[in-house]
Assembly symmetry: C2
Homo-oligomer: 159 residues x 2
Amino acid sequence: MLKLFQYNWQVRDDWFKWCESVSEEELLKERAGGVGSILYTLFHIIDVEYSWILELKGEPCPEEPPFESYASLAKVKEFSRMCHQEIEPFVISWTSEMEHQILSETDSSGKTICFKYGEIMRHVIAHEIHHIGQLSVWSRELGRSPVTANLIRRGLFDE
Amino acid sequence: MLKLFQYNWQVRDDWFKWCESVSEEELLKERAGGVGSILYTLFHIIDVEYSWILELKGEPCPEEPPFESYASLAKVKEFSRMCHQEIEPFVISWTSEMEHQILSETDSSGKTICFKYGEIMRHVIAHEIHHIGQLSVWSRELGRSPVTANLIRRGLFDE
């Protein structure tokens, strides 16, 4: 599980670097698909990972902060750093015994829904990769090369 | 590992259904980003999964077939079915002991490169999710709702 999180964190940092050479106007511009803009996508990825993992940790999950307060590259990077610090230890200490632990949630209609911890962890992984795929299309539409999505050759499996 | 493959296979089938309501012209139209068109993306995902897993199985890997021979929804679906049949047993029988097995490859410059089996498996997973993210943007550009990328609530973790 950890390797796929580490992949996402590397790719996210690569996109932060990519963002440095793009104007803030383009980063905030509304686009078709996903959650709408490049910066909001990065913000959303961080927030979703953070919220689910806080829930798995059994900690109270704050409301999603308004994107308006984070609508700059520097602020989104800082948001990522802050959230990462809080959730990384949980991801690092993940063991296969935690797979079948149950997270109970109450949905908007008052119904209780149960998720396996392993289901949530994989959901978070897939969520980030999916949204990064969207950034890659927008990047080409901007006439720029996207960050590579390759998982191999990132040194993730070096001893 | 299996759950993320099963997620990809479900999502892929959902996209095949989505494709049924879109004209072949739109499915084949060249778009910005990724490998270029909706159908070619699906073809490419299947081919990459198939080729890597054949390599892990130690079987000779055929050349990528020319997309021109598969450029219709029916043919890509058939290609998926055929490849799936050959690779599913390997994915199902995956165990954590296989993680560190080594796949040696010779790159175009004649250099030997080594990959862990676990690295390749995760690469294949991330590869499909990433390209599906691209389809979701193109779908919105076509004015259509994309297939949901959610991994939760797909029944993947029901007993």
